[in-house]
């Protein structure tokens, strides 16, 4: 992704429009991070538009594919029950945008561990993302853990990954050891996938 090519910023008035504009943007050779982030943030979350993708699981957070961007990106909705969180993970050289659709999510950033990591991983920063905010991360920025720290509210987030990826590394916070994992979808295009 390069510097912004056009100066005007998009406004997505619905989830459908957001997807449409994303297809338009990603059809170009050059796509700007700032442009995508601003577009994602411009969409005002309307549960009626995404409820069909928001499938919760009792035991852990779920990944629900919304659009596969003609191979250029994956757009998905993640559903977090109370107390659900992710492991510390990287993003396999891809760009990752995360927008809150409902509730709040805490993002903790970590430094990459030393080559032969054998100590506690170093926390860089943490913040709580509010509804409609959109965060961005890639491997050069660092690693992160995302969690719903609420014991009373669920959370829903919209994620865009480009290029799409289905494996990543998870990291043990105490030692920095990494482990490759394959990610799966709980549902695709609103239909529950059985693995």
């Amino acid at each position: 992704m390069e510097q912004p090519v056009q100066t005007e910023m998009w406004k997505a008035r619905s989830l459908e429009e957001l997807v449409r504009i994303l297809h338009q943007i990603f059809a170009e050779d050059k796509v700007s991070v700032e442009e995508v982030q601003a577009l994602m943030e411009s969409y005002e979350s309307n549960p009626e538009e995404w409820l069909q993708y928001a499938k919760f699981d009792q035991y852990r957070y779920t990944r629900n594919l919304v659009d596969n961007g003609n191979g250029k990106f994956n757009l998905m909705i993640l559903c977090w029950g109370e107390g659900h969180g992710s492991s510390i993970h990287d993003h396999t050289d891809s760009h990752c945008f995360m927008k809150i659709l409902q509730g709040n999510l805490k993002e903790t950033l970590f430094e990459w561990p030393e080559k032969k990591g054998n100590g506690e991983m170093i926390k860089k920063s943490e913040r709580v993302l509010r509804e409609n905010q959109c965060a961005y991360i890639n491997d050069s920025i660092g690693l992160h853990r995302v969690e719903n720290i609420s014991h009373t509210e669920t959370a829903v987030s919209l994620h865009l990954y480009s290029p799409p990826f289905d494996t990543c590394n998870t990291f043990d916070q105490r030692t920095g050891h990494k482990h490759k994992v394959t990610m799966t979808f709980y549902s695709q295009f609103g239909e529950r996938t059985v693995c």
Partner: protein
């Protein structure tokens, strides 16, 4: 709750009074015969009288399946709550609980128990008597140890323990065959082999008791004072299968590390009857320090098959 609720809506099955500032749930509840889901989160419940008197005798006691009282002010679990025999799902997340009553075992049908975000310091072993419990959340509390009896929760699929004060886990946790999710991050788990320096040599009474048990010395209640008969009945078997020994009060606590799927090392507490008793998991004698690094090969591969996902990072 509005008066006459049961008259207006006698067939009510789901009632959501979350975020309404309620300080008590009144007797109107007792007349709802079909209510199976009651959501009352983010209110001001918790004081005496939060739940109506006579709850145990009401139809609710048998019909209620789901109760969500998260985000209130409960400092303890009200006894009346434990009379809801049909309850499948209970949430008391984000309250002010300091403990869990042993009578929690009365909720025989419980499958889902959320107690995250309280001030709980310990877990009663009676919690393990819930035969249908599948999902147990104890994150964000002040828990220092897990009772080994918790391994009796045969149906447990997900256990959330992150952000507590655990330094180790009981080795019995390996027995949770159906466990698919386990979160342990944010606990001060020990990462290095810790040699127990506080081993107290057994007393004369203990040595005598051990001999009676291991050599099967016959005795009848008339042979011994009642206190000693009781003492002899409390013998614990040394977990080392090669050792037929028992111990009473004096044992060696030893932390062993078990690899899960070759990625995480969990510190598990083992109890052995004496320092001379070789650990079940090392082929060499116990005096070598390197055993903690390469031990538990068999145990690890068995556990790796069972534990499908351990969220430690």
């Amino acid at each position: 709750l509005p008066a006459g609720l049961a008259q207006w809506f006698p067939a009510l099955e789901v009632l959501d009074v979350s975020g309404t500032g309620l300080a008590e749930l009144g007797a109107e509840l007792l007349c709802l015969p079909c209510l199976h889901t009651l959501l009352a989160k983010n209110n001001r419940l918790g004081g005496p009288g939060s739940l109506p008197k006579g709850l145990g005798q009401a139809p609710l006691a048998r019909s209620l399946r789901v109760l969500n009282l998260s985000g209130n002010r409960f400092a303890d679990v009200p006894a009346a709550l434990l009379l809801l025999r049909g309850l499948r799902s209970l949430s008391l997340g984000g309250n002010r609980l300091h403990g869990i009553p042993p009578d929690i075992q009365e909720l025989r049908s419980l499958e889902f128990l959320y107690l995250g975000g309280n001030f709980i310091t310990s877990i009663p072993p009676e919690l393990a008597k819930l035969p249908s419990l599948k999902y147990l959340v104890l994150c964000d509390n002040k828990i220092q140890s897990i009772p080994p009896q918790l391994a009796q929760l045969h149906s447990l699929r997900s256990l959330s323990l992150h952000n507590n004060l655990l330094t180790y886990l009981p080795r019995e946790i390996l027995n949770l065959v159906h466990l698919e999710e386990l979160s342990l991050r944010g606990n001060p788990l020990v990462v290095r082999f810790v040699r127990d320096l506080t081993y107290n040599p057994p007393s004369l009474q203990e040595l005598a008791g051990r001999t009676v048990k291991t050599r099967n010395v016959p005795y009848a209640p008339s042979d011994l004072p009642e206190s000693l008969v009781r003492y002899l009945s409390l013998a614990s078997n040394c977990p080392n299968p090669k050792c037929g020994g028992v111990y009473f009060d004096s044992c060696v606590r030893q932390i062993k590390f078990v690899d899960f799927c070759g990625k995480y090392r969990l510190p598990l507490m083992h109890y052995l009857c004496s320092p001379e008793c070789s650990s079940p998991f090392s082929s060499a004698s116990q005096s070598s320090t390197s055993q903690s690094e390469s031990d538990s090969e068999d145990e690890a591969s068995v556990a790796a098959h069972r534990m499908q996902k351990v969220l430690l990072g």
